[in-house]
């Protein structure tokens, strides 16, 4: 076994859809048809299906894992499923369709390369579809694949598919989505999931599995703007590495090469990269999402929260942040002048909510400037002032340096996710 033989990419995708849209069945089908379900798992859900008096083997049981979920027959939390084909390894963030679990959907979507949106062919676009599409766009998931499911229940009718496709295209033109694909499927019967459907000769596009294996994700990271947040300072304090001071972290953007001139924030000092260290020896160049250790020429004193960037390409250094947020907590946002802890890359600061500009109605995309109360699952545009400067980019340019979370100082809960405008 050598490294060359293991050359598969990693693709993360989120699944969202109403509880009756068959999302769990689809995942079960993907795993089953790609032969990623183990026999004992299959036997287990077969036994459970029988015990519950269900017809056939309910593949949705594969992803419903917690006791209360199995009792109620719904999915409460984000469940992560893994499968691999010779081309790629996949991580599925299977998320709930219920409105009260938007927070979990946002969680699963934040690192996704692809959003898989499921629509029931009989019902077309519903509120849930709009909400999840909007969130996918808000979280800047680079690729969206819309699966129009239950085609078997509309007699595999091309017109039904086309009409939904048109309606979605009309709706999504108002969103910031880069790349959308449509596929007509039947998760229950397997049409166009892994194998091509024999019932829809009119469809000439890819199957879902083919799409997932081939969609180009190589450009999903920002390889242009160098951003290295210092995560941890490594000081061995031993004889072999007496003066070693390494800045360990994960590249959030751009590339770093040995010998590069760099600018350090917040000090503004300049330096040069003397070494890029890893356990397996030094390397010439690092890029996202690698975790490395950077050594600098001068004897400077960087600490966690600082950032290493290139001199002509710095992020905005500011204490005033304009952002879209999604609220997660039971308690509504304290406003005006609510105080929260803010985490951005490796920094932690305090912040004050200065203003709520509007809350957003996800169905109509209407900006409500009268109702400025931000409650659980609300999306709003706000202005924040922080106690210390942050080094930010627009979320559209970089999902890592353009994002943050708010933490309630009392409960310690993560109360909101923010995307910088």
């Amino acid at each position: 076994m050598t490294e060359q033989l293991v050359d598969t990419e990693l693709l993360r995708f989120s699944t969202a859809g109403s509880v009756d849209d068959g999302k769990s069945t689809l995942i079960g089908r993907l795993l089953y048809d790609s032969k990623s379900i183990f026999e004992d798992q299959y036997e287990q859900i077969k036994a459970t299906s029988e015990r519950r008096g269900e017809e056939g083997v309910n593949l949705a049981l594969l992803t419903d894992g917690l006791k209360s979920e199995r009792e109620q027959g719904i999915t409460i939390d984000v469940a992560y499923r893994y499968f691999a084909t010779p081309k790629r390894k996949f991580i599925i963030a299977d998320t709930p369709g219920h409105i009260q679990y938007t927070r979990n959907m946002v969680t699963g979507a934040s690192t996704a390369n692809v959003a898989l949106i499921l629509i029931d062919a009989r019902n077309g676009i519903v509120e849930q579809t709009r909400r999840h599409s909007f969130i996918s766009s808000l979280l800047q998931i680079p690729h969206i694949v819309v699966c129009i499911n239950k085609m078997d229940l509309v007699d595999y009718d091309e017109e039904a598919y086309e009409s939904i496709k048109n309606e979605f295209s009309g709706f999504s033109s108002k969103l910031d989505v880069k790349d959308i694909h449509f596929i007509p499927i039947s998760a229950l019967n397997g049409d166009n999931v892994v194998d091509r459907s024999e019932n829809m000769a009119w469809y000439e596009g890819q199957t879902l599995m083919h799409y997932l294996e081939n969609v180009h994700i190589g450009s999903d990271h920002n390889f242009i703007d160098t951003r290295f947040p210092v995560q941890h300072v490594i000081r061995p304090y031993n004889d072999d590495y007496h003066d070693y001071r390494g800045y360990a972290g994960r590249l959030a953007g751009g590339t770093i090469r040995k010998g590069d001139e760099v600018l350090l924030l917040p000090s503004g000092f300049k330096s040069k990269v003397s070494k890029i260290d890893t356990f397996n020896g030094e390397i010439e160049e690092a890029y996202p999402p690698m975790s490395v250790t950077i050594l600098l020429e001068n004897d400077l004193d960087l600490s966690r929260g600082d950032m290493i960037v290139r001199p002509n390409n710095a992020p905005e250094v500011t204490q005033d942040v304009d952002a879209m947020i999604c609220w997660f907590d039971d308690d509504k946002m304290k406003s005006p002048r609510g105080r929260y802890t803010l985490r951005h890359t490796t920094q932690e600061v305090q912040c004050l909510i200065k203003e709520v500009k509007y809350t957003l109605d996800i169905n109509t995309l209407h900006r409500n400037q009268e109702d400025l109360e931000v409650k659980m699952n609300d999306i709003a545009r706000i202005k924040i002032r922080t106690t210390k400067p942050l080094f930010i980019d627009e979320y559209r340019k970089n999902r890592i340096t353009g994002s943050f979370v708010l933490v309630d100082e009392g409960s310690n809960n993560t109360v909101a996710a923010g995307m910088i405008i």
Binding site: L66, K67, I234, P236, T278, S291, V405, T414
Partner: protein, 300 residues
């Protein structure tokens, strides 16, 4: 230049990131070490994360007293080579002191007793974060875990109340008395682990490789013949060529018939197998929600 990592290197980068985050956010982390392949890989990743400094936290082994002797030998060798500090929590001592009561009968196991000992060791050492090698693909309750899993002051896991984890941002804030369990290899599958161990040429305990052993069959699983397990009259002992796919202690680890005696053969076997890794774990089979129930009480 192709700016692309293979999935193993991407997973590795993610795990290293999580471990460094633990060192940064917590005051007294500890690494839970069982001697199995996942915790061995965890130690390897930790060594990478903090290189060239030493791993900045001790290892904690909750010893049921029923381990395969090979596991203990390997553990001690590894600890010595790293110059790491090892803390051993003893279930034997806990039984003697009355903290826990030993199960009796044919299916007795000390697996569930580990929880009480783990919680006690965490409290004794005042550890505020415990790193573990659990993976989401292992079992359905683990599929819902976060990287940073908040535990209350009783060490309990409430699946309905876990914090959202977005992007790379982990919220390790807690009140006094609470702690976190952190799972850096959450996104790794069994096959990923084996492939990585092969590429990195990491040494593993001999139990994982095919060897001759006296075993007997119970409920469709092969168990090692040892005085620790009470055997029924009907359960005959035979000698077979077996290996362990997962290692718990002797009472709950099923062995497999296999002739895979090196990593390449193991990888071959794992990638074509039809049974899950933990399919032979009798501790998981006690009820449909065995893992979930144990976690709610504070189990690993």
């Amino acid at each position: 230049m192709k700016y692309q990592l293979s999935h193993l290197r991407e997973l590795e980068a993610e795990s290293i990131y999580v471990m460094r985050e633990v060192a940064a956010q917590f005051e007294k982390p500890v690494l839970m070490f069982s001697g199995g392949k996942d915790s061995i890989m965890m130690v390897h990743l930790a060594a990478k994360a903090f290189f060239p400094a030493r791993i900045p936290f001790p290892l904690l082994h909750v010893d049921t007293g029923h381990n395969f002797p090979e596991t203990i030998k390997f553990r001690d060798k590894l600890v010595a080579s790293l110059g790491a500090k090892l803390i051993v929590g003893s279930v034997d001592e806990a039984i003697d002191s009355g903290l826990v009561r030993e199960e009796k009968g044919f299916n007795a196991s000390r697996n569930a007793l580990q929880t009480a000992v783990l919680l006690e060791e965490l409290e004794k050492g005042k550890f505020d974060a415990a790193l573990g090698g659990a993976r989401r693909d292992e079992e359905k309750a683990r599929a819902k875990e976060r990287f940073f899993s908040h535990r209350d002051e009783f060490g309990q896991w409430d699946p309905k109340n876990q914090r959202p984890e977005l992007w790379n941002l982990f919220n390790g804030k807690k009140h006094f008395g609470e702690h976190f369990r952190v799972f850096p290899i959450s996104n790794w599958t069994e096959l990923d682990v084996w492939q990585y161990l092969a590429i990195e040429e990491v040494e593993l305990p001999s139990l994982y490789f095919a060897h001759k052993r006296k075993v007997f069959e119970r409920d469709g699983t092969l168990l090692a013949d040892t005085p620790i397990i009470q055997r029924k009259e009907s359960e005959q002992v035979v000698e077979k060529m077996v290996r362990c796919r997962t290692i718990g202690d002797m009472t709950c680890t099923g062995v497999w018939e296999s002739d895979a005696d090196d990593l390449d053969k193991i990888i071959q076997e794992v990638s074509t197998t039809r049974m899950t890794e933990r399919g032979g774990r009798t501790d998981d089979k006690r009820s449909e929600t065995s893992m979930e129930d144990r976690k709610k009480k504070g189990y690993f």
